[in-house]
């Protein structure tokens, strides 16, 4: 069934179709509609879940952690300040191997107060052991929530599904709502091997000496590496009943491309249009969308980019003191690769500043005229300060 809905409502539908059993969330612009719709689903009984109306995001994730360890499928959603407030428990969920799914609506971190998009909130959680998916459309949002649970519950790691503030969260698109029966077949009820259980009487999360801890952390890395294979498999399986899949990354019109732009989130859609126009004019240019950011699908990225001459990485984030975070990841992926394109880093759209086809064209024009990349960060759409 197709319905017109916002990115936020796509999140809520995704959680409902996944039959989340415990939801704990706290309102924050631009995520609020997710929580509102889910509480409505719970009220009407469309979703049989306990909705815990917590007093903070910190407690939201803590409650999800409790629910998860007691054997329930848990869901939360937040944005920016809320995500940052959760930080201690973000580690807790991953180190405790709890397959919680969370939606994060990308929003710029304060101060100054902002409700508009950039990726610094979610990217600053990148080393916590959560899988991260960046979505381009509302359809991808609903689908990724469902896929997220399947992946999370197999590898026992939490999954973050990320969408841009307003550009997705508050923009309506046609979304095909997968049939519940089919989702149920794809995503059976959560049956954890270990949980709070009167018959097992385990103690979870006890003090762990240096004798054991290294291996526990190593196993998270191992699970992360396996998630690459698994996410590919789950994505294909998803296609079998829905007709849709996304890949971990998506090369778009990259055949024989000399220049390839790299994007994530909604900038991808804008860039697609630019690429289409340029291809029409005969330019050898393509686009690579990064959908899965953690674990980073480095090998796939290398294969998608190693044959071109120049790569322009477009970051809607700043790793202060270093540069664009996606750009760093891609450079480091290529570090030990024999063949290496020139890698240019561009930062744009911070704090929700519009990224239009003109912005993308400005980047294309700049890459065209430079043959050697250096480590200078290039800013697009930045006003002159002095």
């Amino acid at each position: 069934m197709k319905e017109v809905m916002s990115g936020n409502h796509a999140v809520s539908y995704g959680a409902m179709l996944s039959r989340a059993q415990v939801i704990a969330a706290y309102p924050i612009t631009p995520q609020t509609q997710i929580v509102e719709m889910l509480s409505e689903f719970c009220r009407t009984g469309r979703l049989k879940a306990k909705f815990i109306k917590v007093e903070s995001e910190h407690s939201a994730l803590a409650a999800c952690i409790g629910a998860s360890i007691a054997g329930a499928r848990a869901f939360t959603a937040t944005s920016a300040q809320g995500l940052a407030l959760m930080h201690e428990l973000i580690h807790w969920a991953a180190n405790g191997r709890m397959p919680i799914v969370m939606a994060d609506v990308n929003r710029s971190m304060a101060p100054g107060w902002s409700i508009w998009t950039d990726q610094n909130d979610s990217l600053s959680q990148r080393d916590t052991g959560w899988l991260q998916f960046y979505c381009e459309s509302n359809q991808e949002v609903i689908d990724t929530i469902i896929q997220g649970y399947k992946i999370a519950e197999t590898v026992l790691l939490p999954v973050m599904v990320v969408l841009d503030a307003f550009v997705l969260s508050h923009t309506s698109e046609g979304v095909d709502i997968p049939e519940q029966k089919l989702v149920d077949k794809f995503l059976p009820p959560y049956k954890p091997q270990y949980k709070m259980d009167l018959n097992q009487t385990l103690a979870f999360g006890a003090l762990v000496t240096p004798d054991y801890n290294f291996e526990l952390k190593y196993q998270i890395q191992e699970a992360m590496e396996y998630s690459l294979t698994l996410a590919r498999k789950v994505d294909k399986e998803f296609k079998r009943f829905s007709g849709r899949n996304y890949g971990l990354i998506e090369p778009y019109r990259c055949a024989r491309a000399e220049i390839i732009l790299v994007t994530s989130g909604t900038i991808t859609s804008t860039a697609r249009e630019v690429i289409d126009n340029l291809r029409k004019q005969g330019e050898k240019i393509g686009l690579l969308k990064i959908r899965m950011f953690r674990p980073f699908p480095a090998q796939e990225v290398i294969e998608a980019l190693e044959d071109c001459k120049k790569v322009a990485v477009i970051d809607r984030n700043i790793g202060y003191g270093v540069g664009g975070i996606l750009c760093q990841e891609i450079k480091s992926a290529f570090c030990n690769n024999a063949r290496r394109p020139e890698i240019f880093g561009y930062i744009t759209g911070i704090g929700g500043r519009d990224v239009t086809p003109d912005t993308i064209m400005e980047i294309v024009i700049d890459v065209r005229k430079n043959n050697k990349a250096d480590n200078r960060i290039k800013y697009v759409g930045l006003r002159k300060l002095r």
Binding site: Q21, V22, S56, S59, A63, A203, G205, A206, L207
Partner: protein
């Protein structure tokens, strides 16, 4: 001889508490009262150590170690999950220190109490952050030494019972391991009530209080007898009942012997001691007023 304390033992003999730890005994009694269908939520506190490192556990029930400030919120999550999974006969027991209750965990606890989420919360109050080496908390009494109040604490102890009672939760009580029958009765009573139930248990920490371990029980008994830590119950935030395991009235001599036995009060001057005695007396009167208040409501 008739045993009034259940013989059922839900704690293993081996654990890592210091000699004379009132907190260890409190858990032992609580689990005797609540039985095997209990799940423990344990934020950072001495008990995170007492229960043993991986792969050990000192209790015979499932236990979840959690972040310092999350006893309230994690317990809500566990209870919600048990409900939706149809396991309705399990008692969730949040077990936190004074730091995890009066200070860093107060927000989550208050929120859970406001929602009246269905679990028992026990604060075992040893009046400082003992896990990290005896730093003051808002439960540390006025005049006490701690490693962050090297002279003496200058602020009075926060009244956590007043705070919890103000939430109008169905049941709140103070309890003491020095009165095990009363302690067990209260936990059993709590078990039979639905909603947020709060138990405030003063326990002696010989290490932090700087006293010898063999007087641990005696000291918390003195705390009750002297009026420093009265035993009482409050139903629905309104109905106060004073429990009198022994005849109590704030007693100058008893208060002085309580203070005198503890190194943490060694620096008190005579003037300080007089102030403490006066404060305890006025707190006692305040409590009696609340109990009288019951009668007004009944009329």
């Amino acid at each position: 001889m008739k045993f009034t304390i259940p013989q059922e033992e839900n704690m293993h003999p081996g654990h890592l508490a210091c000699p004379g730890c009132g907190g260890a005994l409190a858990m032992r009694l609580a689990l005797k009262a609540l039985g095997k269908k209990t799940m423990v939520v344990l934020p950072a506190c001495c008990w995170s150590i007492i229960n043993g490192p991986f792969p050990y556990s000192a209790v015979k029930v499932p236990l979840f170690h959690t972040a310092f400030e999350t006893a309230g919120s994690v317990s809500s999550g566990i209870k919600a999950a048990l409900d939706i999974l149809g396991k309705k006969d399990i008692t969730v027991l949040a077990w936190a220190g004074d730091g995890g209750t009066f200070d860093i965990g107060l927000q989550a606890l208050s929120a859970a109490a406001e929602r009246n989420d269905d679990f028992i919360y026990v604060c075992y109050d040893n009046e400082a952050y003992m896990n990290t080496g005896i730093q003051r908390s808002s439960a540390t009494p006025w005049g006490a030494w701690s490693s962050t109040t090297p002279a003496a604490k200058e602020e009075p102890k926060k009244n956590i019972m007043d705070i919890m009672v103000a939430h109008r939760i169905p049941y709140a009580a103070t309890a003491s391991v020095s009165y095990p029958d009363d302690f067990i009765r209260k936990l059993k009573r709590a078990k039979d009530i639905k909603g947020t139930r709060f138990i405030h248990a003063l326990v002696c920490c010989p290490t932090g209080w700087k006293c010898s371990s063999e007087i641990s029980i005696k000291l918390t008994r003195l705390a009750v007898q002297s009026g420093i830590f009265p035993l009482y119950e409050v139903e629905n935030g309104l109905k106060y009942t004073l429990n009198k395991p022994q005849q109590i009235s704030p007693d100058n001599k008893l208060i002085r012997s309580y203070l005198g036995a503890q190194g943490r009060f060694a620096n008190l001057s005579e003037k300080d001691t007089k102030k403490i005695v006066a404060d305890i007396k006025s707190e006692w009167l305040r409590l009696l007023n609340k109990i009288e208040g019951n009668i007004c409501i009944k009329q």
